[in-house]
Symmetry: C2
Subunit: 135 residues, 2 copies
């Protein structure tokens, strides 16, 4: 049901500075970059095995990621699991009294469905679920 | 050179409570549990694809993980990349003026070699490198 870790999302104040470490020093390769104005972020993906390091730079004030950067500084923001059936996973979590941030799957870029699980229910970790569109 | 995300380490106040979410609700399976008195932690691994969720419960005061839990509460502590040649990776990082916490690879359980990279050099993320013993 849970297939893999799709990505680890890291909030950074600027992408170029972050890429100096992740790409320049560590040697990961950038798989893609995009501006996502609807979510107030610029994003860079660096694939690694079946996962990605996802760098998120807030571009708009007062979003969750902008507040995170302001309050806690740069660092890991959330981890995202790819599931084969997001509706079934959400139902299973609800059956265990797990609090969801999104009560219904949201539809994002490329048709992927996603939902966040509240850190209150995971022991302090913001968990995202993905169901990719091509499955 | 970087093969995959070996694990995401999450610090928790108690393993049973954490497993109620990760195993009971989310459905991951525990691959192993062990007490590591030398590092002051009880550990549970939950494999997921080529990676693991690693739950760490501090068992000794005044360690890095115990202080993390006390100051920041439970949550993601570090991410660990498996590399095929830890000496070469560390040399490459030094060549890019990246600050390492361990100047030499440490030898852990099962003969694996590991080293931590300082969050100052990564943009706020504590990064661990692993070279597994069987390679």
């Amino acid at each position: 049901m849970i297939k893999n870790i799709n990505h680890i999302a890291i909030i950074v104040p600027d992408l170029e500075g972050a890429l100096a470490f992740w790409e320049g020093a560590l040697g990961l390769k950038v798989g893609g970059r995009e501006a996502v104005p609807a979510e107030g972020v610029d994003v860079a993906f660096l694939p690694i095995g079946e996962s990605n390091v996802e760098l998120l730079k807030p571009t708009v004030a007062d979003t969750g990621v902008a507040r995170f950067l302001e309050k806690r500084g740069p660092g890991i923001h959330h981890m995202c699991f790819e599931v084969d059936d997001i509706d079934a996973t959400m139902e299973q979590l609800r059956a265990h009294n797990v609090q969801l941030i999104n009560e219904q799957p949201q539809v994002g870029h490329g048709g992927r469905q996603y939902a966040f699980v509240h850190p209150k229910s995971t022991g302090g970790v913001l968990v995202e679920l993905y169901q990719l569109s091509d499955e």
